[in-house]
């Protein structure tokens, strides 16, 4: 099992997830397209969510590392618990690149809080962020429903295993392939759906400014 093989497997999975996302109904209010014009409010929201997720994920990471060391199968069930903040940030900010940015922020916080992988934690932040971004790029960032966000969570969860593979040196392709659907389901539920439901609950509080969900 080599890194190029793992990369090809994961790219195929991301493309399939992206094609499924394309079939989901678009949000009529969404502008879509690649918009990197972040307001200060967007950046501060991502900073706060990154800090929160960094604290929670550092704690969760201890459990995950122990499980994942043995085999990708054991860690797969928990793999999806790390990206809820990516999905929530995207739901609130609604701009391309937000999931990658929060991935880097959250991973930086984790590294500085004492994550056992040190600065290598950034590898997960980047790979998981890219996974979610690629899936949403297929629909040009026009979808914010539970299914689209669930699939973005699944993509993030699965693509994060590329970095896990590089760090852990798993040898069994069979184990990796068995773990893939577990990763996808875990990411769909614990990242995608959790992020979506947190977002809708926050929107109901009316907390957010008119530019975002709360005012709709």
């Amino acid at each position: 099992m080599s890194t190029p093989v793992i990369l090809v497997i994961n790219i195929v999975i991301l493309v399939v997830l992206g094609l499924v996302v394309k079939t989901v109904k678009s949000d009529p209010t969404a502008k879509g397209g690649f918009n990197f014009n972040y307001t200060t409010s967007d950046l501060v929201i991502m900073a706060v969510l990154g800090a929160l997720a960094g604290v929670i994920n550092t704690w969760m990471g201890n459990v995950w590392y122990a499980a994942n060391t043995v085999s990708p199968i054991y860690g797969a069930a928990l793999q999806g618990t790390f990206m809820w903040a990516y999905i929530l940030a995207y739901f609130l900010v609604r701009k391309s690149g937000s999931m990658l940015i929060i991935g880097i922020i959250e991973a930086s916080v984790e590294a500085l809080l004492g994550n056992q992988a040190g600065l290598s934690t950034l590898g997960w932040g980047i790979s998981q962020g890219i996974g979610a971004e690629v899936v949403m790029a297929f629909c040009m960032y026009t979808k914010f429903g539970w299914l689209a966000l669930g699939l973005a969570g699944a993509g993030a969860s699965q693509f994060g295993t590329v970095w896990s593979f590089i760090l852990y040196g798993w040898t069994s392709l069979t184990d990796y392939l068995i773990a893939a659907p577990i990763n996808l389901i875990s990411g769909f539920i614990f990242s995608g759906l959790l992020g979506y439901f947190l977002g809708t609950m926050i929107a109901k509080t009316g907390l957010l400014r008119a530019t975002r969900r709360g005012a709709e």
């Binding site: 900073a47 609130l92 500085l112």
Partner: protein
């Protein structure tokens, strides 16, 4: 939480005085070189260099290193034992009176050393670098200052998050939360904590954004800093020496018998 053992130590050591970017590049070079190494002996040499930097050049107090030791060693140790017991081996060797598979032992040691080197190098950066200096350095090489500010703000929010969690816990306790309850009830409590903390955090984020925007943040493409970034000669010398060492190590191990 481990933040007590992982914080910037301003001890005016040789390594602390080096500019933040050179140290960041050094850590990246250590990680990249470690991935290139193919023998455990050369990884041990690399680990020795990193430990030398930590104790002699950075003068990190032994007590601090001791406190951080569980974080440093736990993942490497887990990887060592897993590879020791799962990697297929054709030869048996004796290690400290135990018979173990040679290939499993070598592979376990490989991952233990690799992870330990990477984590130690990262921790040296954290112990010897003020994050503010690192952010200023990143801005000076072209990172948009608004993004650097975001990372810095996330770190600034950490104690605020902790205070928020404590306040929410206290609020629940005042309202008669049971000190011991079934696991299901505890999970529901944590759900409530989490949602309250997120909502309060976002409320603070809105206020903070308004406050910094009203002070003109983001109005100009560039900004000034109280402390400007400057490359240091010692930093550049450190990088050159390390690159020479890394090239030597990679070529040196190629002439070694397989370890």
């Amino acid at each position: 939480m481990s933040e007590h053992s992982l914080r910037y130590i301003d001890n005016d050591s040789f390594f602390t005085r080096i500019d933040a970017l050179s140290k960041l590049i050094w850590v990246i070079l250590v990680i990249l070189t470690t991935f290139q190494l193919t023998s455990n002996l050369s990884r041990v040499v690399m680990l020795a260099v990193v430990v030398f930097v930590m104790i002699i050049l950075a003068r990190v107090p032994l007590k601090t290193i001791w406190q951080a030791m569980p974080i440093i060693l736990i993942m490497g140790t887990l990887l060592f034992f897993v590879h020791l017991f799962t990697a297929p081996s054709t030869q048996i060797i004796n290690v400290l009176g135990f018979s173990v598979g040679k290939e499993g032992f070598d592979k376990g040691l490989q991952y233990f050393l690799r992870i330990t080197i990477m984590v130690l190098a990262s921790f040296i950066l954290i112990w010897t670098t003020d994050i503010r200096d690192l952010m200023v350095g990143l801005v000076s090489i072209g990172m948009p200052y608004r993004y650097a500010f975001t990372v810095f703000m996330a770190l600034r929010f950490l104690p605020v998050v902790q205070q928020e969690v404590d306040a929410v816990k206290a609020a629940h306790a005042i309202r008669g939360r049971a000190s011991s309850s079934p696991i299901r009830h505890r999970i529901r409590l944590w759900q409530r904590y989490m949602f309250t903390v997120i909502v309060n955090g976002l409320r603070k984020a809105e206020n903070t954004a308004l406050a910094i925007e009203s002070r003109g943040f983001g109005a100009f493409p560039d900004r000034t800093f109280v402390k400007e970034f400057h490359w240091t000669k010692t930093g550049i010398i450190l990088l050159i020496l390390f690159i020479v060492f890394a090239i030597w190590l990679i070529f040196w191990e190629k002439n070694l018998p397989i370890l």
